[in-house]
Symmetry: C2
Subunit: 274 residues, 2 copies
């Protein structure tokens, strides 16, 4: 097991952790707490436009670990699927303009009961946007979601599945994003992380508390749950990933607290548990 | 894909679907609706005692597809784990007295963050109760639970894991229970069901609706969700299972409806969707 961190150099604040703040407020809060990285969400980027968002992030001195999120490829009709492809191309443009090299893909649910067909639509969607991503030096990070989101957010639900899918494409363009909340339960977790070597484009942390405080908003602060964070972090590093570590916590209780309190807790828990 | 059923011969009512009824009330309701099978829960059995429960079920003419539930093997101390083993032996006695040959195992959560150690405790627990089960002609059915229950109900969370665990023991004594709610999302679902041939001891149905109405009470009536019920039923039959099919639905809205309405809906949906 690796040693605890002694600095916050790799800590990135995924902005949904401070969901009530604008992009500008969030960037300022990150700077106040000495962070070096952040990861914006597109809804907050769109509020003020990509240009202004890019300027704020550049002026802040923060580096951008990823953009959340592209994906949602399946659709009931060819026209819908094309709309999704077009939206992913816009997300790629935005990611490039914001100065990150990684677009996180939440792959989307099936439009009907046929989950296997939807999985094929995801593969086809990634293939369709890949040239655009390559042209803009953006890598696509397939994030397997927890199986409890299989019906409404992502038909890609295990590390094995995400790796198999990524391996259909060049490693320089397509990889996976490892989020502990989604994958901690997997009996093959460490085998699959080992297999993911060279394909890990991002690492997201939070915790799984009992009882779960929600479904979409079910994540907790590191240390408040059962996830073996340091063990998983060690395995991710052993697989060759040494990039930014995003704290991504959707949690109503945290959202209702002052941002500075949340960031103070986040930076402490990062050293204690990750 | 197999044909729809034309009778309810294989339909079994898992009594938690009518959670507000006593064992006697539930048995009477099953008989009123022409069912041939039921599956009691231990809490309802204990309310009136095993002898009286067995008498009611025998007099009703219903067959007992399984007893819910044994398991919950892990514990923080050896004494706790022994308590759990003793309780499983009592559950085996009860199953035998109630006239079923199958005890469903919900394997239990880890007592701490070490999920791998807890998985070993489950294996050890099954090994410890196996001779008692064999002596009473009870087969132990390992039910993999949905990964969203990994922290509080079962460290056994995939078909693959349940099959691997079952295969450490003789097929005549230990198998798996396939519940669609827990396994429908699995990218390897049909491969694993094929591999489970000869080990399937029970088949449970419900549905996964969007949005999910809860976590523990997250199940819905067949047809109200996204699960490919007939396709999974076909695969389970192809794997050699032709026994009773338990409807097991924890759902607050269904629980608040009159039992006869729920059973009328259950029997209709069984023909339409399973």
């Amino acid at each position: 097991m690796n040693q605890p961190f002694t600095s916050h150099d790799r800590l990135s604040l995924n902005q949904i952790t401070l969901n009530r703040l604008t992009l500008k407020e969030c960037a300022e809060a990150c700077v106040r707490h000495g962070l070096k990285w952040t990861a914006p969400w597109r809804n907050r980027v769109h509020e003020i436009g990509v240009k202004e968002s890019a300027r704020i992030l550049r002026d802040s001195g923060l580096r951008v670990s990823s953009l959340c999120r592209g994906g949602f490829f399946p659709g009931a009709t060819a026209a819908e699927r094309q709309d999704h492809i077009d939206d992913n191309k816009r997300a790629i443009d935005e990611a490039a303009e914001l100065g990150t090299d990684c677009l996180v893909l939440v792959c989307g649910p099936a439009p009907d009961r046929d989950i296997d067909a939807a999985r094929k639509m995801v593969e086809d969607g990634i293939a369709a946007v890949l040239p655009h991503a390559r042209d803009h030096n953006i890598r696509l990070g397939i994030e397997p979601l927890h199986p409890m989101f299989a019906a409404d957010r992502s038909v890609i639900v295990t590390l094995a599945e995400a790796i198999d899918l990524a391996e259909k494409f060049p490693a320089s363009n397509v990889g996976i994003v490892v989020d502990v909340f989604h994958i901690w339960w997997d009996p093959k977790l460490y085998l699959e992380l080992h297999r993911a070597a060279g394909r890990i484009l991002g690492f997201h942390i939070s915790d799984w508390a009992v009882p779960l405080p929600g479904i979409v908003t079910g994540r907790s602060m590191m240390g408040d749950g059962v996830i073996e964070l340091r063990r998983i972090r060690t395995a991710v590093e052993d697989a060759g990933y040494h990039g930014p570590i995003e704290v991504e916590i959707m949690n109503e209780s945290l959202w209702s607290q002052p941002a500075d309190d949340v960031l103070a807790l986040t930076t402490r828990r990062y050293l204690d548990f990750v």
